[in-house]
Symmetry: C2
Subunit: 341 residues, 2 copies
């Protein structure tokens, strides 16, 4: 049952990235070869200190190319998997992804826009796909959402149906149970005017919902091009405690976001995400309409941050079996954990 | 979104097999090239008559080799997928599986013992694996159970966890909602003595539960060798209507079957299957103990017969992307349906 551990280099030491590295250090199926970040305050820092762990040796490397060289990448194409957590923006990640791929590393990234980039970023997608194919490696964007709860899970469930006519997912996350940055991200405590201003500026809302909807559509044979997305505030109805103090009634408690894919004018995919302080209970629901209809429930919901770190590390084993190129999760064998040390 | 349909030859025209062929005729992602059975009464019969469908041309072929030749198999290795529904017994299926594989066809079979044959049938497994690798094709055993509800689904769910310590699945199927052969299979209406006699003779119970438990264990890094299975009767408590008349209290209404895998003395996997007339409501529950704990519910449960036919046809697309050899479902990308005609 024991296989040779997979060598991994990690890039990006934000909150999720540190969680990924902590997990990689514990897992028996991976061997951490290098850890990289671009932050000058982190470069050369003691890894144990950065992670808040005792008994860890090593320092943080300067940037991705140096880190990969340290990892002895040149040994064999596909011998190294880069786990990558630097940005939600594909445009910002692209140079890093290309650097890894061109050196012969598979990449598993938390970049939300990478989870299904073909519609929003066709040129970047084609460029990354070509580079990965040329290098004989695979690249995928994943996490819990996008990457699992609202896309991979409904596609998996569809495997038990003869025909699917429509997919609907409802994910409720009580942001009050989540870390402070998530509460800030969903606008906890701001006014409806400020909410509207941020939506107009494109800085409000969960990144990746459109990508999830398109990933589901494409996996089930529907053209994902016609996708619409809406973002509305969830308002506090009573005084609601949050990481930023009490949210008064009428102020924003979080977001209510919907992405819909229509193909030939027929609604095929509807993903509804509610993340707000005090909105609980958290839960994931998947409904398939078809032959037969199916309903799947995850009471309590899949945990956002924890499951994203898990999904990334669990996909390390899957990406090595993927066909070369830019992949989407539904093209990968199921990620799964391995025993920890 | 449209790809070239995959050519398929189907072998075995029992109830599930006919359902598979009916689905293949409707699906846009497959093109049915041949249908085979060994029953002398079926060979040469009009396919539309056998299936109870109008507007279908073609006849039933004599046996697998002839059927494959009809399908023009020699064109290219891996160009044809055989869907196969002849027996639960790997020993009985093996010659058919080898014949298909050796002619360069991928195989998706409903043979329950094929879903994870490595522990119970190591020699047959190694032989089939070697033949498939030599031919450059893949073989897998699947269906809804084994193949999905109690094995693939928990493995998929584990992808959202950092660590799994134990897996527990409880599947309740109200046999009263299922076809007559299923009610007969679970012993509806027989005495407890007769039940015990059939258990002792090895002719009672659901085939594949041990294989499902071992598939889960292996996918999560636990040695599947130490597996135990028990079968007990579910007794009718009140007069219960069935396909065979009323089941009197104290008579058998169905089965209560448990498979457990222990690794290093620790219980890791516990699959509990209850199939009985009047036992409803049907439901599938999956619990993972780990980091974090997770619970997944499919209210109403995944439909046995319907979902098995679906799972087989849906896996046609996945098997073509699998690595050559004898595969288990957790090594395959998620099966999914395609639009129907």
């Amino acid at each position: 049952m024991t296989a040779t551990p997979v060598r991994v280099a990690h890039v990006g030491l934000g909150a999720i990235g540190r969680e990924v590295v902590r997990l990689e250090l514990r897992r028996t199926d991976v061997e951490l070869a290098a850890v990289c970040d671009i932050d000058p305050d982190l470069i050369g820092a003691d890894l144990g200190t950065v992670l808040g762990l005792d008994g860890i040796s090593g320092t943080v490397d300067a940037q991705i190319v140096a880190g990969l060289a340290d990892a002895g990448l040149d040994a064999a194409v596909g011998d190294l998997v880069v786990t990558h957590t630097t940005s939600s923006s594909l445009a910002r990640c692209l140079p890093e992804l290309l650097a890894a791929v061109e050196r012969g590393a598979h990449v598993v990234s938390s970049c939300e826009e990478l989870s299904y980039p073909w519609v929003q970023a066709p040129e970047e997608s084609a460029r990354l796909d070509a580079a990965a194919r040329a290098a004989g490696v695979a690249v995928v964007g994943t996490g819990v959402n996008p990457g699992f709860a609202m896309d991979y899970l409904p596609v998996v469930l569809s495997g038990a149906t003869k025909r699917v006519d429509a997919v609907r997912v409802h994910r409720v996350q009580d942001a009050g149970q989540r870390r402070e940055p998530l509460q800030a991200k969903v606008g906890a405590g701001i006014t409806t005017d400020e909410f509207a201003r941020r939506v107009a500026a494109g800085s409000m809302g969960h990144v990746g919902l459109t990508e999830s909807a398109q990933a589901v559509a494409a996996a089930l044979g529907w053209d994902p091009a016609d996708t619409t997305e809406t973002i509305d505030p969830v308002l506090a109805e009573t005084p609601t405690p949050s990481a930023f103090g009490t949210i008064e009634p009428g102020r924003v408690a979080g977001i209510d976001q919907v992405a819909v894919v229509r193909a030939d004018g027929v609604e095929r995919v509807r993903l509804h995400l509610q993340m707000a302080v005090g909105i609980g209970p958290s839960q994931d629901d998947v409904w398939l309409t078809g032959e037969p209809d199916l309903h799947l429930i995850v009471p309590g919901g899949l945990h956002g941050d924890l499951a994203t770190a898990a999904a990334l590390v669990n996909t390390v084993g899957s990406i090595r079996h993927a066909e070369p190129g830019l992949r989407v999760m539904s093209e990968l064998r199921p990620p799964r954990p391995a025993p920890t040390r």
